[in-house]
């Protein structure tokens, strides 16, 4: 099985990080994975996105054009990528910044979460990305929660390790939203 994901949002919302966690988590489960970021002039516009592939086989294209899953943390990202999500796919979007879903996609599971407000409730407005990731994992089950938790240690720089417990509770918060 090959599962392809796009994570997108404003620069600074932490989309690269959740993409890396997905890839790292997949690797820890023994899967083949790739992570590919937007770079260079693309980044100047203030938006960022990355492609993640998790697979049982060696990964072909690291650039995802038709994702199975999309995490969109802002409006422009949802607008840009939602049309390309495969039928049967999953979209988690940030309802704090997106009032109206721009397109009708009945064959896709769409899930809006108020990431910003929920993050503030947890006491740190930076962890909205983790809540969205938790929700996405709950829906897609592409990588286990425990693997993502283990990946945090590898992906976050040492000086931010004290934030790991907070990130883990944010992940669980997101997961609970879709399980509950």
């Amino acid at each position: 099985m090959t599962y392809e994901i796009i994570c997108a949002g404003f620069g600074g919302q932490g989309v690269m990080l959740i993409g890396q966690l997905l890839a790292y988590g997949g690797m820890l489960e023994g899967k083949e994975v790739t992570w590919f970021p937007s770079y260079g002039p693309e980044m100047r516009g203030g938006t960022a996105n990355c492609s993640v592939v998790v697979s049982d086989q060696p990964v072909g294209s690291p650039v995802v054009a038709e994702p199975d899953g999309l995490i969109a943390l802002n409006g422009p990202s949802l607008m840009r990528f939602m049309g390309s999500v495969k039928p049967g796919g999953v979209i988690v979007y940030n309802a704090s910044l997106i009032n109206e879903v721009p397109e009708d996609r009945p064959e896709v599971r769409l899930f809006g979460i108020a990431a910003n407000e929920l993050a503030e409730k947890l006491g740190n407005d930076k962890v909205g990305n983790m809540i969205a990731l938790g929700a996405f994992l709950g829906l897609s089950k592409v990588v286990g929660l425990a693997s993502i938790e283990a990946a945090l240690k590898e992906v976050l720089p040492e000086r931010r390790h004290h934030l790991i417990p907070l990130n883990i509770s944010a992940l669980h918060k997101g997961w609970a939203l879709v399980e509950g």
């Binding site: 083949e32 790739t34 992570w35 590919f36 770079y39 990964v59 072909g60 294209s61 650039v63 054009a65």
Partner: protein, 354 residues
């Protein structure tokens, strides 16, 4: 074996350090900046030297000096910088100095763009600089090969006393994948020909590419060509996936081969017989294998992010024994899996002209 996630560019850098490289000279240019930036942090940790030169012209001549002095030395750049390095590369090839040069290619000509490209294939494989010289050219297909081929590159550079190039592109450089790192090599072999100061030797060692006296130049070139023949006979590498049973074989390297692999996986699910032939060395080009596949009646599709450069080597290799089609991208974007899939289907007997 422990796997760690690394960007392709960082895998190249760490691969060099693991291979015993302790000297890096370079100049910033996108999309390879992760290599010098990694080296700036990492080399001091292992007692090595990172130096940002004032230009690529200068960087490659620092490499000439360091390589000639017997050290394992690396430089990296992208198209415009490699163009500037060509003068030095020609001297290095002429003087038979081992070193490794990375090109994380971007779109050209001129200042071009920052997007990935495979348009530097001719420059890498057909010389580029002046004179009859050859580089051994590796094209990694994933991050693990970035590490492994880097190690091999240093060994081969020394074995043949020849510059080795690793030709990759922006996608491969920016992408992160799991890699298993080899152990750190610290001691590398002494080079008896290197300039070290005479140290009691009777004859001084000389690093030089001048052959102005008498028949000297011809002798140098005969020696070089004999070496290139040995390299051509021994060093060709490739990956062949499902080529024996295939009706159609896609030929691609680097990022294009990754996209082709995805397209081929889809087609195989539909029962189509499509193979992938991926040259790992671009020079020497693995032409004998392609020639025999052509003799078996295969057809070929070359997928490249250029106007058609690799395709010329494929045509030369199959030498009219098979039909060679071409799919290229010029706009600095990567071909999508669907584009390649559609193109392959249109070439398959029952695929129609979709």
């Amino acid at each position: 074996m422990e796997r760690v996630m690394m960007k392709g560019n960082e895998a190249l850098a760490e691969g060099a350090i693991r291979a015993g490289c302790r000297f890096f000279f370079g100049y910033p240019i996108t999309p390879q900046n992760e290599i010098p930036e990694y080296m700036a942090r990492r080399l001091p940790e292992v007692g090595g030297v990172f130096l940002q030169a004032e230009s690529e012209v200068s960087a490659i001549n620092m490499v000439y000096g360091a390589g000639g002095a017997g050290a394992r030395v690396l430089t990296s750049s992208s198209g415009p910088g490699i163009s500037l390095k060509l003068e030095g590369i020609s001297y290095i090839a002429g003087a038979q100095v081992p070193c490794v040069i990375v090109n994380v290619a971007r779109g050209g000509p001129g200042l071009g763009g920052l997007t990935p490209s495979q348009a530097d294939y001719f420059q890498a494989t057909k010389g580029g600089g002046h004179g009859d010289y050859r580089l051994l050219v590796y094209a990694p297909g994933n991050a693990q090969e970035m590490v492994d081929l880097m190690g091999l590159a240093f060994d081969k550079a020394e074995e043949y006393r020849n510059p080795v190039m690793i030709l990759t592109d922006a996608i491969m450089g920016q992408m992160m994948e799991p890699v298993v790192l080899p152990p750190l090599r610290t001691v590398t072999a002494e080079q008896p020909w290197a300039t070290t100061g005479k140290q009691g030797r009777k004859k001084p060692n000389l690093i030089n590419s001048l052959g102005i006296v008498g028949e000297e130049l011809e002798r140098i070139n005969i020696e070089l060509q004999a070496k290139y023949d040995r390299m051509a006979a021994a060093e060709a590498r490739y990956e062949a996936d499902g080529t024996a049973e295939a009706d159609l074989i896609v030929v691609a390297y680097g990022t294009s081969s990754r996209v082709a692999r995805s397209a081929i996986a889809r087609l195989r699910q539909e029962g189509k017989k499509v193979g992938l032939f991926r040259p790992v060395t671009l020079w020497p080009f693995p032409q004998a294998v392609l020639a025999s596949l052509a003799a078996d009646g295969k057809r070929f599709l070359v997928v490249e992010m250029s106007a058609g450069q690799l395709v010329e080597d494929v045509i030369l290799a199959v030498n009219d024994r098979a039909k060679v089609s071409f799919f290229g991208k010029l706009n600095g974007t990567v071909p999508t899996v669907r584009e390649v899939y559609d193109r392959i289907r249109s070439l398959l007997p029952e695929g129609g002209e979709g």
